[in-house]
């Protein structure tokens, strides 16, 4: 039963997540909330592992979520669920629709879809950030700001955006450095 639900949830994600990369993220935040399969913190951990390992981000996330929910069969089911809509849609386009990407309706739809997809990622990213920096799921219930987390975030922003020499360094380096900082300064024991 859980396998069927996994397939359905990831099929939906694969069908509606547009633009690749983190586009699947808002869907996974929603999925965790509505199914109780994983928390936002666990999801953030999965993003880190998925970013640090080879393969497309969405596929890595599907495998990871599927595994934590229902073991190896879950991982395979979730991954197949995620890619199934892609395969079906692309095969249809390849066979029936020439110059699909030049169609004016497709172009216009994607002109609006792109900012919408970016807005979804921004909102779901914010909800994870609130959890990370305030330790609660809502802004109003915030007890205290984690100053260690805020300091690390400020430093990372400076390194990944401000300083041109380090801007192009692969994210895996920052993830490893953050793990080290977390251990040295005991981030979990706030």
């Amino acid at each position: 039963m859980v396998l069927l639900r996994l397939f359905y949830e990831f099929f939906k994600t694969g069908l509606f997540a547009v633009g690749g990369g983190l586009a699947t993220f808002p869907f996974l935040v929603r999925m965790g909330g509505s199914t109780g399969w994983f928390t936002k913190s666990q999801l953030a951990d999965m993003v880190a592992v998925s970013e640090s390992t080879p393969g497309p981000l969405g596929v890595n996330m599907a495998t990871y979520v599927g595994y934590t929910t229902a073991g190896v069969p879950g991982a395979v089911t979730a991954t197949i669920g995620l890619v199934a809509p892609s395969v079906i849609v692309i095969l249809l386009i390849a066979v029936f629709l020439r110059n699909f990407q030049d169609n004016r309706f497709v172009k216009s739809a994607f002109r609006i879809l792109r900012p919408a997809s970016t807005g979804l990622i921004a909102a779901s990213g914010l909800s994870v950030a609130v959890l990370t920096f305030f330790g609660t799921a809502s802004l109003t219930g915030a007890s205290s700001v984690s100053w260690k987390a805020a300091a690390l975030a400020a430093l990372l922003l400076l390194l990944t955006r401000g300083i041109s020499a380090t801007r192009r360094v692969h994210p895996i380096v920052w993830i490893a450095a953050s793990a080290a900082a977390g251990i040295v300064f005991q981030f979990a024991g706030v």
Partner: protein, 185 residues
């Protein structure tokens, strides 16, 4: 005729060499598919990539399906897709198993608490990067703000926002009369 095994392994290689997906895989596809295998030209690859972005799902998977389909039909599309996801599944399964065994260690918990901060920064950077190509004027800015605010405060499926956005985009184009479109050209 391209062998199915060849399709599978070539795309497994692409999958293993791609970190993070999206544009990161374009140079790798170029080398494997265009230069080494001659399965597509540079121009075709750019087209497939553009279509991959204009269709739902993971871009790497969309591109793999397209090239596989071109070489060996529908079966080729499926085999190429299985190839591109195969390394992910194996690597993540090994890691997920390892991490869940060590999750109770204090050091691991501290490490992931630090990593979560980094993930927030990475998501922020990804949004900034997407912003550049997505938010190009007043209309797209309004869409971004409306979706960000509504999806943050309302417990509504992201799928609804995606459907609504696609609908609005198509409606806007329908309002443009075909005659005017011709004149503009």
């Amino acid at each position: 005729m391209t062998g199915l095994w060849e399709l599978f392994w070539t795309f497994a290689k692409v999958g293993v060499m791609t970190f993070g997906g999206g544009y990161a895989m374009l140079p790798i596809l170029e080398r494997e598919v265009v230069e080494n295998r001659h399965w597509a030209t540079d121009l075709e690859l750019t087209d497939y990539f553009a279509i991959g972005q204009c269709t739902p799902g993971v871009i790497a998977v969309n591109t793999a399906t397209f090239i596989g389909q071109k070489r060996r039909g529908a079966l080729g599309g499926v085999v190429a897709t299985l190839g591109v996801v195969f390394p992910s599944v194996v690597i993540i399964l090994i890691l997920a198993g390892l991490i869940s065994n060590f999750a109770s260690l204090t050091a691991v918990q501290n490490a992931f608490a630090g990593i979560r901060v980094c993930v927030c920064v990475l998501i922020f950077n990804a949004v900034c990067k997407l912003w550049k190509s997505a938010v190009t004027g007043r209309l797209t800015l309004a869409v971004f703000l409306a979706v960000a605010v509504l999806s943050y405060f309302l417990s509504v499926s992201p799928a609804l926002f995606v459907l609504a956005a696609a609908g609005i985009g198509i409606a806007l184009e329908l309002r443009n009369s075909p005659g005017r479109e011709e004149e503009e050209k």
